[in-house]
Symmetry: C2
Subunit: 225 residues, 2 copies
DNA sequence: GTCTGTTTTAAACATACGTTTGAAGCCAAT
DNA sequence: ATTGGCTTCAAACGTATGTTTAAAACAGAC
């Protein structure tokens, strides 16, 4: 097929370049020349650069959110009437991400980086698009987190969820670069799965931290407001 | 003084706009019109847009790294021959950041967001500049972390430090927006200090998480590579 | 008051961008 | 063979960007 070949080549090239360089820093000319298609093809097939960005996300997120919903369904069913634990919830998310069919070996890490960029680069249109299209599974995840951490006050939970999001988005958004640094330093190769397996315990521990440590050490100048 | 007035107004406007919109998405015309100076003033005083970006970072980082070095000096001295604990190290950093003289109330959160962007947006020149100019205090912080977490393998420590950086940069960088959301939801006011007081225990707990949780729950399809 | 070096200004420059155009190419159905 | 609807293509469009220029404005020293 001629059409979908061009469309897919554009999506592949765009996905990779966006992940490498960010959205604003990637021009349509870079994308089309990497995809070996004519410059006008993007506007012909997608309508605009922003619509292409949306399409890149939709190609991954639509099947992913379906997978995730199913994983949450199974998890809640297997738990009977008691809510899933924090660990179970985090792992359900992680596994859904890792098990997504990948276009190539970098598939998931490229996409993680894109998600990080989506959160980080304040592209208003992207944020709106993601909220509108994929807000439901996100809300569900939040509800599960709430049920899994009943010991936390609403305010504590709120902030700790932000911390989790931050650690995840940030790490994933620079994971290629970080992996390269680590490999240069130690010669150790790191897969996205391994990063996830290190991240989840970190998040779970932070989420469940006691608040005894809330008090700064003796002599600290940070005062409780 | 005419010069430094113009220079400072440019730096103020640039700092704020960069933090709001990122580097590539902020044009010199936006900056100069916000600063109410002539367009050419940037190239006259700084030489180029990239040099302006460097100057924005230097204005904050140079005094901050001095403060931080002093805090580390005091901390190590007060600890005698045994290394500072993780908690002490994190609090030394936090206090140095919070106590920096701020140009306005948003000062610290604006700058946190800039640091996050510096890490995220792959602006090669910025990364090189930061490493070159401020690599030393950063390395020292890393050494302290290493001494404070002898139980961690080098690889574990490496990734958990990335997670800490992520949670911090991400949260602080969007703390204004987050604070507003929280206030609208719960009517609770939150200061940067309070966020830090919630963040540090989260980080310390994550950093010191046992690795028993490294194993996914029963039935998980994520395999140890 | 005049001169000197610095700073500000308006205008222009070259380049890169996203997008549009209209013709050409293609392929299946008639 | 010809039609008709997609798709591709080279070229151009208008706009925005970072940077440069050369003249004007300014300030302090003599």
């Amino acid at each position: 097929m001629a059409q979908s070949d061009t469309v897919d080549r554009i999506l592949d090239a765009a996905e990779e370049l966006f992940a490498e360089r960010g959205f604003s820093e990637t021009s349509l000319r870079m994308i089309t020349s990497k995809a070996k298609v004519n410059l006008a093809a993007v506007n012909y097939h997608f309508g605009s650069k922003n619509a292409l960005i949306h399409a890149v996300f939709a190609r991954f997120l639509t099947p992913f959110s379906a997978t995730l919903e199913k994983a949450f369904d199974e998890l809640e069913e297997s738990c009977g009437d008691q809510p899933p634990t924090l660990n179970q919830t985090l792992w359900a998310l992680t596994e859904s991400a890792v098990r997504m069919p990948q276009r190539n070996e970098k598939g998931i890490s490229i996409f993680m980086r894109l998600l990080g960029l989506a959160y980080t680069q304040s592209q208003g249109h992207l944020r709106k698009f993601l909220e509108q299209e994929y807000g439901d599974p996100f809300s569900r995840f939040m509800r599960l987190l709430k049920a899994a951490t009943p010991q936390l006050s609403a305010v504590d939970r709120y902030w700790r969820i932000q911390f989790m999001l931050g650690a995840t988005a940030f790490t994933m958004s620079s994971s290629d670069a970080l992996r390269d640094i680590l490999q240069n330093k130690t010669g150790v190769e790191t897969s996205v799965q391994e990063i996830a397996m290190r991240l989840v315990p970190f998040l779970a521990a932070g989420m469940q931290a006691g608040d005894t440590m809330l008090v700064p050490p003796k002599g600290s100048k940070v005062s409780v407001a």
